[in-house]
């Protein structure tokens, strides 16, 4: 199942390139272009050597994403499902960027260090509103099992309707998790030459592309499962994740990039305030 998700994540990225091109009045590549790219990158013969951790980092990232995808309900019960798997999933989602940071930190390239610094700073920014946005769901339904949250949503209505304010805060955080436009400082190609990826090439870049594809479906999948009522079969899952991805992509395409300081200021001002507001409202509703 994780491998199907990663493959479809590549196709989503291809659609994103196509949409990006159409917005710029270009024709754009075919939507399966990213699969060609991965085949090409795996056929490269060599890669630069920067120490063991540099080579281990992409593997760790991809492993983290595959592990996390095993906890994600995709149109049915996931591979692992138990009380508390929501926390495990949210922790595993952090492993992948940390693996990239470990690997790229060994790259002996100042641009890679700048990119990692930006990525981890941004992570501090978006993780807190996202978690506070998820807390009301756990408190209201008194469960931390994703499959059960989906089940309860199908009885009580989608969480985006029940907790609209918390959902808004979490969606802004997810926008940054996907690395969409106003929050793409970590890999800004025009400033720091793709940041953490700067020294990676060949097979390692292919692994990182697969990691990006998996992380894309992981984040949109978490949104679908927590806020949009989950999915009863895999096709519905793909439809819902694609709609989430498409809407966030269109928002991102028309916005310029924040500076990293401005992004942090934004995250600790607006999404955090919205998330805390949503938490208070759910507490008041709970008292009533």
């Amino acid at each position: 199942m994780p491998f199907i998700l990663i493959l479809s994540g590549l196709l989503y990225m291809g659609f994103a390139r196509k949409i990006h091109a159409r917005i710029q009045k270009r024709y754009g590549p075919p939507f399966y272009q990213n699969i060609y790219d991965v085949i090409k990158l795996f056929s490269k013969r060599e890669a630069a050597f920067h120490g063991g951790m540099f080579h281990f980092g992409p593997v760790l990232s991809l492993t983290g994403v595959i592990m996390a995808l095993m906890f994600l309900p995709v149109g049915g019960k996931p591979l692992f499902s138990f009380q508390g798997d929501l926390f495990v999933l949210l922790y595993l989602m952090v492993i992948a960027p940390l693996g990239l940071a470990l690997g790229a930190g060994n790259a002996e390239n100042p641009l890679a260090s700048v990119g990692i610094a930006r990525a981890l700073t941004l992570m501090l920014g978006y993780e807190i509103p996202f978690f506070i946005g998820v807390v009301p769901i756990i408190a209201r339904y008194n469960t931390t099992q994703i499959a059960e949250i989906i089940h309860l949503q199908q009885m009580n209505g989608w969480n985006i309707v029940v907790f609209p304010i918390s959902a808004l805060a979490s969606l802004i955080a997810v926008h940054a998790m996907l690395g969409n436009k106003p929050f793409d400082q970590p890999i800004a190609p025009h400033e720091i030459a793709t940041g953490p990826l700067v020294e990676y090439g060949g097979k390692y870049l292919a692994l990182l592309q697969l990691y990006q594809a998996g992380a894309l479906l992981l984040t949109t999948g978490v949104v679908v499962d927590l806020f949009l009522g989950g999915s009863s079969n895999i096709w519905l899952f793909f439809v819902k994740t694609f709609i989430v991805y498409f809407v966030l992509l269109l928002i991102g395409e028309v916005l310029p990039r924040f500076r990293i300081g401005d992004a942090m200021r934004f995250f600790w001002k607006w999404p955090l305030a919205i998330a805390i507001l949503g938490l208070f409202i759910s507490i008041l509703e709970g008292i009533k």
Binding site: Y27, P29, D37, K40, S43, V198, G201
Partner: protein, 172 residues
């Protein structure tokens, strides 16, 4: 290289433009909305580590030749060189200047020449189509020639840039 790998390579060529001489103006329409090279999977990459094709454009001074060689050596095999414009073939109108390196193929293995001063975007597309056909047939073997005849290339590079200097950092 297997057939699948070659197929992937000709479908997705990632390019580093080395445009210190001239031709930057002619290359911009190639990647923007009028001609749109991304249709064929040709996109510009931010770093030479990630790219497959080095496009050297216009006249090459001795000073930039060092940077071109270092950029080429940072790229990962298999890699290709496309030389753009008349000046990379024999120096063009700068053939008798004291500071230009006239023939690029003395220093790097060129796979495709695109002649003209400057070639129009259509010519650049024809050149890339030629490169794709060469990759498909397995004829684009510049990186193999560079490996086999490295002593010869190194001798020429040292002659042009000055041997024993610190400019040569081979880290691939």
């Amino acid at each position: 290289m297997t057939g699948l790998g070659r197929f992937g390579q000709l479908k997705s060529l990632w390019v580093t433009y080395f445009v210190t001489g001239c031709g930057g103006i002619e290359l911009l329409p190639v990647i923007t909305s009028r001609f749109d090279a991304e249709r064929f999977g040709i996109i510009t990459m931010a770093t030479p580590r990630q790219s497959d094709v080095l496009v050297v454009s216009g006249f090459i001074t001795v000073k930039t030749l060092r940077r071109i060689i270092r950029t080429y050596e940072q790229m990962h095999n298999p890699k290709y060189v496309v030389a753009l414009g008349a000046c990379t073939i024999n120096g063009g109108i700068y053939w008798d200047s004291y500071s230009t390196a006239d023939k690029l193929e003395l220093y790097l293995p060129v796979d495709v020449y695109i002649a003209g001063c400057m070639p129009r975007p259509e010519a650049i597309f024809m050149g890339f189509g030629h490169l794709m056909a060469m990759i498909k047939d397995g004829k684009a073997d510049g990186w193999k020639r560079y490996k086999e005849n490295y002593e010869w290339y190194k001798k020429n590079q040292d002659k042009a840039c000055g041997g024993g200097k610190k400019w040569r950092v081979r880290d691939v």
